[in-house]
Symmetry: C2
Subunit: 145 residues, 2 copies
């Protein structure tokens, strides 16, 4: 079996019905000052913003477009909730090979994610009910872009 | 309004039906080598283990005792899933005062959490559907204890 391990926890994805309201909540209730402007990511069907903590990052995501994967999630969880965990990997293709070798279902071909690097998602049924995103480590810090 | 802000993301709490199976999954599928032995935390009704990544921590939790808050969660999510986010705060009592002043419901009196410092939980209905734990920053690094 090829050697493979995930790296740092890059971010926690939180689905929200209203991204402006969510940003206001993190700013006003929790005092977070470093929050990025919402941006659309059409390939993933989401609009996202990063809540940057002194260490750790929450990615707020809300549906973009008509076929967003977040729409169904929000139908089940109208107030929003935790949507995925993102672990960094050195090389996405090695990661996909390792995951498939180890019996984990990879849900998509690698595509560009919110940090500008390639990402895949794993089936939550193989990972204790948690939707896991694997993301190639950004070469520079794109989290504040 | 008193000045207050949360600090780093300390960990992500993930509920699991079988903590030994979850540990094996993080070790064998994701190649994580630094995972603590399961420990019981009777005041919170959980058995927990920390999955320590190069940066970031997943706290695996499973029910302990007859009145565990995790039991209900697992009835709704039998495979497990993301349960809470934990942000560090400098002083738990200041945090409670700030949260209450800002209209956030605090669910418990401060009590000792898995890192040995005082913690409270906030009502998910006030925080975008996410159960938030606020935890006094450990004085030393207790995450590998």
């Amino acid at each position: 079996m090829p050697k493979f391990n995930v790296g740092p926890l890059n971010h926690v994805g939180v689905a929200v019905p209203d991204i402006d309201a969510a940003i206001a909540m993190y700013r006003e209730k929790f005092g977070v000052t470093d929050i990025t402007e919402p941006k659309d990511l059409p390939p993933q069907g989401v609009t996202y913003a990063f809540v940057n903590l002194p260490s750790g990052q929450v990615e707020l995501i809300t549906p973009y477009g008509d076929n967003s994967p977040i729409t169904k999630y929000l139908e089940r969880n109208p107030k929003g909730g935790q949507h995925h965990l993102c672990f960094e990997v050195e090389d996405i293709r090695e990661a996909v090979t390792a995951m498939e070798t180890r019996g984990m279902r990879v849900l998509n071909e690698p595509r560009i994610g919110a940090h500008g690097t390639l990402v895949v998602f794993l089936h939550p049924g193989d990972a204790g009910g948690v939707l896991i995103e694997l993301m190639e480590t950004p070469k520079a810090d794109a989290s504040h872009a």
